[in-house]
Symmetry: C2
Subunit: 214 residues, 2 copies
């Protein structure tokens, strides 16, 4: 009656959210084909039939996950702000440390890769919201700085991709392939930003020769 098994029925929305959460981590772990609807139901603590009350097909559930996980953009504001101040280092550091940070969970990255590999129709959208925004944004900034003479003349889009590439590859290595990190998160970010900015900032060219000093 009262205290014990006071199992209040969830609202439809709560249940959907719960299903999406449960399914997301399963899909991220084992892919679409590797996950069964029975597992999803068990993880969400409901019967299998209920899953289909909320989502007409397994694929629709998958789609709902991809469509929901498009939350980014508190970052882009911070980037925008630093961009206005022309604080190059901070712009790049913000982007890198958003990806490379202690608590980051690999669910989204795994979902992104799975959806692309398995050719899900929402994959492109998912990719667009999670990555394309970043390097489009970054490319625009780089172009601006080139025009201003602060950066060398490079293809801005390639440069942006190169930087994001460093960062994403780093995540791939240790979130997907299990390669251990041998430096702290901060050190890693700093190194990447240093490397990249050094190659980008405009400086009088002294044709590559070893300056043996120290």
């Amino acid at each position: 009656m009262t205290a014990r098994s006071k199992q209040r029925r969830s609202t439809s929305q709560e249940r959907q959210a719960g299903l999406i959460t449960a399914a997301a981590s399963l899909f991220a772990a084992k892919g679409f084909n590797g996950t069964t609807t029975k597992e999803i139901a068990r993880a969400a603590g409901v019967s299998e039939a209920l899953v289909f009350k909320h989502f007409p097909t397994k694929r629709a559930l998958y789609g709902a996950i991809l469509a929901e996980k498009v939350t980014v953009n508190e970052l882009l504001e911070a980037v925008e702000e630093s961009a206005k101040k022309r604080d190059d280092r901070r712009v790049f550091t913000l982007i890198a440390s958003f990806r490379i940070r202690p608590g980051a969970d690999s669910t989204l990255l795994r979902l992104l890769l799975f959806s692309a590999l398995e050719g899900h129709e929402l994959s492109a959208m998912f990719f667009g919201k999670h990555h394309r925004v970043f390097y489009d944004h970054l490319a625009t900034y780089i172009e601006t700085r080139i025009v201003e003479g602060a950066f060398r003349k490079v293809d801005p889009l390639l440069a942006a991709r190169a930087f994001i590439g460093m960062v994403v590859h780093h995540r791939l290595l240790h979130e997907i392939f299990g390669v251990p990190m041998h430096r702290s998160h901060d050190e890693t970010v700093t190194t990447y930003v240093d490397l990249f900015l050094a190659g980008l900032v405009h400086e009088p060219k002294a044709p590559a020769q070893r300056r043996r000093s120290r």
Copy 2:
């Protein structure tokens, strides 16, 4: 006798090779769980039963593929040679254009990602043979050049990963995510190498901006 179709029986080895080829492209396209043994048999032009005469389980067939596709390393010799001459640009260009080149097929990259995501036991080995060699090799070279004073002081392993990261990310973008290339292969490689080497070579630094952020 003779008559109709001259269908010679294949040797066991031929058949196995054929099965591996057929299965590899299917697994690369649709993943392990997304591929059925019936499809594999049809692609190889044999009955499903024969597949199991050659490989005890579907997973064993998958393993055989990963174990077989570990052919690289005509490249490493060329790299080694350029490394002896201290031709930095060529070392990096060789590695980059080995990955970014017109005819490159995405089968291996897809297999690599699928095997890592799906957690196959041979995934680590596969990764080791296909990627780890590269950045270990590159890291060693970078370290040498740092000691010689030609490169700035950086963590060699991080630097190597950063470079490979640019390149691999580039492949990811257009082989997995279908992002179009807007530059030629050569231009792309040159840009990446330029960017990276510029950030690495040792030059007298004037600007006061490179300082640890904390």
